[in-house]
Every structure is written in C-alpha cells, then in structure tokens.
C-alpha cells in the first residue's frame, strides 16, 4: 500500500475527490476555459464527418452468427429435405411459435431423407423471439437462423411462414460483416 491508498483494499473507505469550489473570479475563469475546450471538441467533430448509416440505402452489416429469420435446408446432392419432422424444435421453442405435423415418407416419392417428413412446418414470426434454440435442438441441422432482419409486414397472418417460404432460397439483403469489423 502506497501513500496514495492509506486504507486497505477491501476497506469501505472511499476517497472523495473534490472539484474546485464554484463562484468567484477563479470560477468564471475556469468556466470560460472549459467552454473554450468544449468548443474545440465540437469543432473537431465537425471535420470528422458523419457516422450515420443511411438505412434503407445502406444496411448495417450483420455478424455471421446473427440470428435473423429461420431457414429450412435441403441436401444439396439429393435435393431431399433435411427435416424429418421430429418436432424437437417445437419442443425447444420457448415462445411456442413452431408448429410441426409429421407424416410417413412414401418410399416411391420421398420428401425427406429420413423415415418421416414434416407435412406442415410453420413458424409464427410475430411470436418468435429469435433465441435460436430451434437451431440448437435440431439433430439434422435442418433449421438454421438466417441473416434477414427486415421482417415488417402489414398483416399478422403474413408473418406465419410456411415450409415453402422457409425452404425458399432467400435473397441475402443484409451485408455480412467482414472479419474483424
């Protein structure tokens, strides 16, 4: 313990630093000086230029792990759906916004790679809290969180995304953040 700390580290004593007393000629002088310092600070900001992202034209870049709108995936080689209709995502969902109705695959005309497939797969995005638990629960990586965040709509009904909408190749509107950005 040096002289600057004449108390123990875990002591409750707090050294109060007092500023100069207000008023008087000294106060006026300090106020004037500090005002000039403030003026200098704001002037420096003027030349730095704006930091604004012009939203509808420019978009905030997202991180790779950003949790946006969900996506359902297919196998790239066979074109079969990865989802086997196990409903684990629906079970994991804290907002209770996923509805899965599973059905048996027809061996002649398979929809998914597994025994069963999701006949109905709906996510109510107006309830979704974008926690990503569905993504974690999925044993086949069939559902992942995408990067899309512009989800506003005029009707609540339009926010219930069906399997076709979730499977569709979505346009990547949001730019991805670069490494180290």
């Amino acid at each position: 313990m040096s002289e600057e700390f004449p108390y123990l580290e875990d002591d409750d004593v707090v050294a109060v630093q007092r500023g100069p007393e207000p008023g008087g000629a000294g106060g006026a002088y300090r106020a004037f000086g500090e005002t000039l310092r403030g003026l200098k600070t704001t002037m420096a900001r003027l030349f730095e230029g704006p930091d604004t992202i012009q939203y509808p034209e420019e978009k905030t870049p997202v991180y790779p792990r950003f949790r946006g709108r969900h996506k359902l995936h297919k196998f790239e080689d066979t074109g079969l759906e990865k989802c086997v209709g196990c409903s684990l995502c629906a079970a994991a969902c804290p907002a209770d916004c996923i509805r899965v109705v599973a059905d048996e695959n027809d061996p002649e005309n398979r929809v998914s790679a597994g025994e069963r497939y999701a006949a109905v797969y709906e996510i109510n995005l107006s309830r979704c809290i974008f926690c990503g638990y569905c993504e974690v629960a999925c044993p086949f990586d069939a559902i992942t969180m995408g990067h899309e965040y512009e989800l506003a709509d005029y009707n609540r009904g339009d926010l219930i995304f069906t399997k076709e909408m979730l499977l569709a190749e979505s346009i990547e509107r949001a730019p991805l953040r670069r490494e180290g950005e």
Binding site: L39, R45, L46, E48, Q54
Partner: protein, 336 residues
C-alpha cells in the same frame, strides 16, 4: 427641425421615398430568403457537430427542407386553446415578428453610394432604436405566454422576463464602449469609425459580453430557458401551432440575424473589407453568417444553464465586467 425638442429619429441622410420603399422591399426579401436557408444550415451543422447528416431527404442534400417545413406548418389548423385570451394570443407572435423586422432596418450593409445608402435607414439614435425594438419581442413572449392560459407557457414567459432584465443592461453596456470611441450612436458612423482598426481589438471584452448577452437576447442555447424543450415543452410556444408557431421560429432566426448584424457592425467593421466598393454588402453578409455560425457552434457545445446560474452569470459576472469595460474605455477615451 426647427423645433427645440430633441429630434428622436433624426435621419442622417435623406433619400427619395421610392428609394426607401425599394430598399425596404429588397432588404425584407433578402432577409426572408436568408432565414429559411439558416434553418436548414443550422440543422445540418448541428448534425455534423454530432456525427450526423442532418436533414438530407427533401431535395438535393436536404436543401428543400425549409420549403417542406413551411408547407407543413402553413397547412396546419389555426387553433386557440379555450383558456387563451384571444386578442393577446394572436398579438404575441405578431409583436415578435414586428420587433425582428423593424430592427433589420438599421443594419448597415454599406456606405452611401450614388445617392443610395446601403441600409434601411440611418437613424442618429441607432443603438437605442435597436434596444427599443428588440426589447419589444419580449413583450411578444410575455403576452403569448400569459395569454395562452397554460402554466408551462406562463413559466416560459416569466423566465423570458427574468432573463430580459438580467441581460439587457449588460447588452447595453457592452455596446457603450464602441459608442464612446465613435462619439455617435449611428451605426453607419460607428462602422466608418472602424476604418483603421476593427473595434473587436480595443473592445474585445465588450464583444464577448455582447455575444453572451446576445445568446440570451435571442433565447438561444445556452440561454434558451424560456423555451427549454425538455422541461417546459417549448415554454411560451407550447400552445401555439401552425403559422403562429412558425412565426416564433422565424422571429428567432430574424433576431439572431439582427444580433449578429449589430455585432458585426459594432465590432467586426461592418461592411469594411478588401476589394471594390460593390463588395461591401457581401462582406457584411459574410461577417453576419460567420457570427451565426458561432451561434450554432455554441448551441452544439454548451448545455442549457440552470436558472440560478443564468441569473448569477448575468448579475454577478456580466454586469460588473461590462461596467468595468465602460469605465476603462471612458477613461482611455478622455486621456488619449
């Protein structure tokens, strides 16, 4: 003037009536073109001071923003609260505008050339005219605040009144130094007296006091207590909307223009500047705009003062300093 009474508004230079009318229209239109531009310039500058763009959606880089603002305000319903006093409620904004416009008349934009003076009117009581008419705007604020029948408006009006008496004296005394050095109250003579050296050099303290008191005079940050958007929801303007609200806004910028004009005439050599004679009005406008930039800069920097801080700054600091400045100037003028 054969009368033994003192001539109150003795005009220094006589002109034909049509010239006076033409000049009035020219100055009026010029200033009314400047004010909307000032609003957008101020908003854009404040934005830049805060790392923002400011308005940039209406027209190229936001230049048509004032047009949109005016259209919006003019398109609003004209209304009056039940508790308001009808006549005074309407008179308030009109008085504020009146005081702004009348004070523009004495701003000198140049010397007399080819029989035309480059100013609205050169009255021998110049400075007093400025004080008389610019103080009228406080009647406007007081009346509109009181006549609105709302407590926030009333508080704003009271603050405006208290602010007026704390700053008007310092404002007057700060100009007195320059007046004594010239020996005339006429703004044209004061500018002509700065032929050798601008009064900002010998009267630097006066200039500072005038600028600080000018912020208070125009009700701008850091002395925008009568408006105080955060606590009083615009103070005396709370109950106003549409064109009447717009006239308060217009008056604020008019007053800012006038105060900057007076400051540049008194301390920055008015129309003086290098170049041929026809550049004079341009030099004056450049100086006014530079001072307006200072106003905006200060607004972007300094937070609003607390009420007691405002009073003590006015009475305990500005007033003694202004008096001292006047005393020292008086002694020097007599001795030298």
């Amino acid at each position: 003037m054969s009368s033994t009474l003192l001539p109150l508004g003795d005009v220094g230079f006589a002109e034909a009536t049509w010239i006076l009318v033409a000049k009035s229209i020219l100055i009026f239109l010029g200033v009314f073109l400047v004010v909307p531009v000032l609003t957008v310039v101020e908003r854009k500058l404040i934005g830049r001071f805060q790392h923002r763009y400011g308005p940039n959606r209406v027209g190229p880089v936001g230049t048509l923003q004032p047009l949109a603002d005016i259209l919006k305000l003019a398109g609003k319903q004209v209304f009056r609260p039940d508790a308001a006093v009808p006549f005074l409620y309407a008179l308030g904004p009109a008085l504020v505008i009146f005081s702004g416009i009348t004070t523009i008349a004495i701003l000198p934009f140049g010397d007399v050339k080819d029989g035309v003076g480059f100013y609205g009117i050169d009255v021998s009581i110049g400075v007093l005219y400025f004080f008389a008419f610019s103080s009228l705007s406080f009647y406007g604020l007081l009346l509109s605040g009181w006549a609105s029948g709302s407590k926030y408006s009333f508080l704003g009006a009271m603050r405006a009144a208290a602010q007026l008496i704390s700053y008007e004296i310092a404002l007057g005394l700060s100009l007195l130094g320059a007046v004594m050095m010239t020996g005339s109250l006429s703004l044209v003579s004061i500018v002509q007296a700065q032929d050798e050296i601008w009064f900002i050099v010998p009267q630097f303290v006066g200039f500072l006091i005038f600028m600080i008191a000018g912020f208070a005079e125009t009700n701008r940050a850091p002395f925008d207590l009568p408006e105080a958007d955060a606590e009083l929801v615009q103070g005396f303007q709370t109950e106003y909307g549409g064109t009447r609200f717009a006239s308060f806004l217009l008056a604020e910028y008019l007053e800012m223009f006038v105060v900057c004009g007076i400051a540049s005439a008194f301390f920055l050599g008015g129309w003086m500047g290098p170049g041929p004679g026809w550049l004079d009005p341009i030099w004056m406008v450049i100086k006014i705009l530079a001072l307006i930039f200072v106003f905006i800069w200060v607004r972007a920097t300094v937070p609003r003062l607390r009420y007691d801080q405002l009073m003590s700054l006015g009475w305990k600091f500005l007033l003694p300093l202004a008096t001292l400045n006047v005393l020292v100037t008086a002694v020097l003028v007599v001795v030298l």
